[in-house]
Subunit: 84 residues, 2 copies
C-alpha cells in the first residue's frame, strides 16, 4: 500500500447561479480590482492508502459521488499524487 | 492585454481547527471509506486581462490579501494559466 493525496475539486455546473461568487466579484470590483469573471469551488485534499494511483482515484471519485458533491448541481474532478 | 485565469487556493493554516472538514471525514468513514486525513480549501477561479502572467499573478495575489483570504487564519497560493 502506498500513501496518496487525492484532490477533489467540486464546482457548480454551468448555469447554476452562484450568488456568493457574484457578491465576491462585486466586492473585488468595489475595491478597484479589474476582473472579468469569478467562479468559486470547493477543494478537498484527502490522504489515503491504496494499491496504486488508479485505486486511489477510484475511491476518491466514489467519495465525491456519495458525499462531497451533489450530482444535481455539481461537477467534480479528481487528481491523485503520491505522498512523500 | 492577454486573458488569464488565476486560480487562488485558500487553506486554513496548520493548527487552525476545521470542524467542517472533521465532520466530513467522519461522515465518509461512517459510509465505510478508508482515509487518513481530509483537508478542505476554497478555490477561486478568476478571469482577468493583464499584460503578462506575472501581472495577472500579482493582481490575483492582491485580491487574496485584500479580500479572499484572512491572513490571521489562512494561507493561499496563486496559479496563473493563459485562457484560450
Amino acid at each position: 500500500m502506498t500513501g496518496y493525496t487525492a484532490t477533489v475539486t467540486v464546482r457548480l455546473k454551468h448555469g447554476v447561479l452562484d450568488p456568493e461568487a457574484e457578491t465576491t466579484q462585486r466586492a473585488l470590483e468595489r475595491l478597484g480590482f479589474e476582473l472579468e469573471d469569478l467562479r468559486a469551488a470547493d477543494r478537498f485534499e484527502i490522504d489515503l492508502s491504496a494499491e496504486d494511483p488508479d485505486a486511489a482515484e477510484e475511491r476518491a471519485g466514489e467519495m465525491a459521488e456519495r458525499l462531497l458533491a451533489n450530482p444535481t448541481i455539481h461537477d467534480f474532478d479528481v487528481e491523485v499524487a503520491e505522498r512523500e
